[in-house]
């Protein structure tokens, strides 16, 4: 592990037995897990390179239990790490040696489905796909679809502001959640938003979404559900160069077309996927686009003709439109299996998640090629082309001395490149522990201080998920000071932009 976590408090470690007893008084029976062999399953999340056994695991079943656990931890100054299904790719649910791991998996009920107001009220442990499964009988679905959707929880989606292939047209989690119930570290239960569209006062719901478990514990979520599109068809477009594929993406959008999904894969990813699932991808192209159009049949038919014409004009050498639902699913099967497919051609891979302005794709791909040579590691690329979200997969072998370190350095350089061209460190996987120390690449000291002031408003003792997101933890008292000297606010020489 190359990331330093906050030094565990010896005082807390010494009190472990008493803490377990106190927690058992709040959550009875098997809801408190303290045996090493039973806690082992929780020592890591989707970022498996990082492991840490928690102090103790608590699995509450009621909001009241959550509130009492948090109130107790607040009073005793014990850190708390919230966890949903543990699928975070950035180490967001990595336990702390001196911290309670608060697992919300028993909050797994769908509380209400309200078709007339097109929303569902669910507990945070319900899976993303579970929501769609519950409403699809009536022709509805929940739009954000991270690739882990069969396992990831909606509470985790709120914490990470999860995306998926449909975000370009349908938005991220933040655009599809209209209300939450949350419990603060002090044990206060509050509601933000509801079934109405605008939340009152400050947009605390907007701040909570994507806050990576640092601001509060979500115990109920109200999501928008949408009527499923009447039809959906996909077209596979192959290009001799990634530049042409990139230009095709820009031209489609310039024409006013917002596809339901628009994904790009490079040659290495195409061939790995084709070997794995035989999706029918062309093997002799440098870039493959999957463009999915959804909506009323008349619209989809109309736009398919337009998209094919745009693709031809931009140099597409293959164009294949799905002729059946089976074929459309097959087109996607290759893309959705891209990660495990790459896993078959390399002992290990490291998945990155930068976002760039789309037009910078050729520059970033060229940069990645140079870095690949520098670090002597291969990289396969899958790309949410419509919104500029890159997922480079760095291929390495953890059993070879130094390769994991090289892979991480390679990844960091890719993210620096993303920031350099006007992009960001993470599009949908979150900062967590993984990108925490890269935050200064994107943000100045003052930028980060203002982010931490949000933290101070919610959790001034830094007890919720410490060690994630922020590279340096400033004490809230220190952040709160205002330096007024001789009638002037003292500020260092800040750059003026």
């Amino acid at each position: 592990m190359s990331v330093m976590m906050p030094k565990p408090s010896q005082a807390i470690l010494d009190r472990r037995a008493a803490i377990v007893t106190a927690l058992r008084a709040i959550v009875p029976g098997e809801g408190v897990v303290d045996a090493a062999n039973e806690m082992r399953v929780f020592e890591s999340d989707g970022l498996t390179a990082y492991r840490q056994m928690p102090l103790v695991v608590v699995l509450p079943e009621t909001v009241d239990q959550v509130a009492r656990v948090l109130k107790y931890c607040h009073a005793e100054e014990i850190p708390v790490v919230p966890r949903g299904s543990g699928t975070s790719l950035s180490g967001g649910a990595l336990p702390l040696e001196d911290g309670v791991l608060l697992v919300l998996s028993k909050f797994n009920r769908i509380l209400e489905i309200d078709y007339d107001n097109r929303c569902a009220v669910v507990q945070p442990g319900v899976t993303n796909l579970g929501i769609t499964k519950a409403v699809e009988g009536q022709g509805f679905y929940y739009a954000p679809d991270p690739s882990s959707q069969i396992a990831c929880s909606i509470g985790g989606n709120v914490a990470e502001n999860s995306g998926g292939v449909h975000c370009l047209k349908y938005g991220l989690t933040a655009n599809n959640v209209i209300g939450v119930e949350l419990v603060t570290i002090e044990g206060e239960v509050m509601r933000l938003g509801g079934k109405h569209l605008d939340s009152e006062g400050y947009d605390l719901l907007g701040l909570m979404t994507g806050s990576e478990g640092l601001l509060g514990v979500v115990t109920e979520v109200t999501v928008r559900i949408l009527q499923s599109p009447e039809t959906a068809r996909a077209v596979l477009l192959g290009f001799p160069t990634s530049e042409q594929a990139g230009e095709c993406v820009a031209a489609i959008i310039a024409k006013g077309i917002i596809p339901g999904g628009m994904e790009m894969m490079d040659r290495l990813a195409i061939n790995a996927a084709e070997d794995f699932v035989h999706a029918g991808y062309p093997r002799d192209v440098e870039a493959l686009l999957i463009v999915e159009l959804d909506g009323p049949g008349a619209e989809v038919d109309h736009l398919l003709v337009e998209v094919e014409a745009i693709a031809k004009a931009n140099g597409a050498v293959t164009a294949k439109v799905s002729q059946s639902e089976e074929e459309r699913t097959a087109f996607w099967a290759g893309r959705k299996a891209a990660f495990p497919a790459v896993g078959r051609i390399s002992p290990d891979y490291y998945c990155m998640d930068g976002t760039i302005p789309r037009k910078q794709l050729p520059r970033v791909l060229a940069g990645m090629k140079a870095l690949s040579e520098k670090y002597d590691l291969r990289v396969a690329n899958v790309f949410h082309a419509g919104d500029g979200n890159l997922h480079p997969l760095i291929l390495y072998d953890a059993n070879k001395e130094g390769e994991l370190y090289r892979a991480e350095e390679f990844g960091n350089d890719i993210l620096r490149l993303c920031v350099e061209v006007g992009g960001v460190l993470t599009g949908e996987h979150g900062v967590g522990v993984e990108k925490r120390d890269l935050m200064p690449e994107m943000f100045s000291e003052d930028d980060l201080k203002h982010q931490q002031r949000v933290k101070c408003a919610f959790d001034d003792k830094h007890l919720l998920n410490p060690g994630k997101m922020f590279p340096v933890l400033h004490r809230c008292a220190e952040l709160g000071r205002m330096h007024v000297h001789k009638g002037q606010v003292a500020f260092p020489d800040l750059p003026r932009f």
Partner: protein
């Protein structure tokens, strides 16, 4: 930096910075002198929120200009004092638009339309009828640069759509009415204009039947981008009376020509069973929705109280019906009934309005038009429960510990 005296309010000093650095210095001076500021763009939304007690005004009117516009990347950045009209014209020239369809409070407050700034749109989290399908300003903000009440410059977000790097402060500042920080630059997502639109108009439905028809339309696969109901009195007061006087329930369909045609046929066939059906095409449709958006039916040259209710869509008309037992009301519904515009004949009884909302599924009410004295004496924004109010207060203290930015505007 220019300092001028406003003609209309001669005792008030207006500070008009031209750069973020100047703006920061003004906030720094306000902090050290403990002299709060009214923060505004063009001042077109002064009538919104509680009147701010401050001797000096920080005007963003001198901070203008589009700093980045890349239509093919669907992104635009501009200084916050840039007139919205300038942005909308630029987008229109490129066949694009602000998808959230920001409304214009000007006419309701007795001003000319089209006076607002981009910063004002973001600071007040404006939206229009399309909110129902495509969200509000907060759903389209990508990044901000700002100066907090600590006189420190900071940024958040970026210029790309998918970004989860750090807290979404851009959303946190959207809709904060300039009380946490002064926005200097914003980056927003823009989208292509739709090719055409058609509005289906159901005639003569009462509020209850209209609520059912709107729920059915929005629950269909017709992808409606607007659902509003104008009761009889209100219907005659949009688009210069083009709708006539009968109650009108409006369902808007936007998109590519063949798609709109197919959806209008499909949805129209279903709705025609409910009530007599008319259609409005293209410009006629746009004119009606513009007036629905800008609360034209209540633009009457008075300061009679107008409330904006954000509630559960299916309960909006029940709230109005319940309030009608107590007081004289004109009302109409947007967002499938989830947005209620309500004009009261008498003094606003804020407690009554809010108790009624609480009894019908929750939501909140904002007094968006009233005289200064009424807005000073009334809780303009919905009061929050204790713990939530305390959290909001802590956030304000973190960003503006001396309370120099728009003090009291939201409270």
């Amino acid at each position: 930096m220019s300092k001028t005296k406003s003609a209309s309010q001669s005792d008030e000093q207006v500070l008009r910075p031209e750069t973020p650095g100047d703006l920061r210095d003004i906030v720094a001076a306000a902090v050290s002198q403990e002299a709060p500021l009214v923060v505004e763009g063009s001042g077109s939304k002064r009538g919104l929120g509680r009147p701010v007690q401050a001797a000096r005004t920080l005007s963003l009117a001198g901070m203008t200009g589009v700093t980045l516009y890349e239509p093919e990347e669907l992104v635009l950045s501009a200084r916050t004092g840039t007139p919205l009209a300038v942005i909308e014209r630029l987008l229109d020239d490129n066949n694009q638009r602000l998808e959230f369809e920001p409304m214009d409070y000007g006419p309701l407050h007795g001003l000319e339309p089209g006076q607002g700034t981009l910063g004002g749109v973001i600071a007040c989290n404006l939206a229009g009828p399309r909110r129902l399908k495509q969200g509000a300003a907060r759903d389209h903000i990508l990044g901000v640069h700002a100066v907090s009440g600590r006189a420190e410059m900071f940024k958040s977000g970026g210029r790309v759509v998918k970004n989860v790097t750090g807290y979404d402060l851009s959303k946190g500042l959207t809709g904060s009415y300039g009380t946490l920080a002064v926005l200097t630059d914003v980056t927003i997502k823009v989208l292509p204009k739709t090719e055409t639109e058609t509005t289906l108009v159901l005639r003569g439905l009462d509020d209850d039947a209209a609520a059912g028809a709107m729920a059915a339309a929005m629950g269909s696969s017709a992808e409606a981008s607007g659902a509003a109901h104008l009761p009889a009195y209100v219907a005659g007061r949009v688009a210069d009376g083009a709708l006539g006087k009968d109650a009108a329930t409006l369902i808007r369909l936007e998109g590519f020509g063949p798609s709109v045609k197919a959806r209008a046929a499909y949805l129209g066939a279903a709705l025609a069973k409910v009530a007599p059906l008319e259609t409005l095409e293209a410009e006629a449709s746009r004119a009606v929705w513009r007036d629905v958006r800008d609360v034209r039916p209540f633009v009457d040259g008075t300061t009679k109280p107008v409330w904006r209710l954000s509630v559960m869509p299916t309960r909006g008309h029940e709230i109005v019906m319940s309030l009608r037992m107590q007081t004289g009301i004109d009302a109409y519904y947007d967002w499938q009934g989830g947005l209620v515009w309500m004009r009261l004949e008498g003094e606003p009884d804020a407690a009554l309005v809010r108790e009624t909302i609480a009894r019908f599924g929750g939501g909140h009410a904002t007094l968006v038009r009233a005289s200064d004295s009424v807005r000073t004496a009334t809780e303009v924004f919905q009061p929050q429960p204790g713990p939530l109010a305390a959290l909001s207060r802590r956030l304000k203290e973190q960003f503006d510990p001396m309370g120099v930015l728009n003090p009291g505007k939201m409270g």
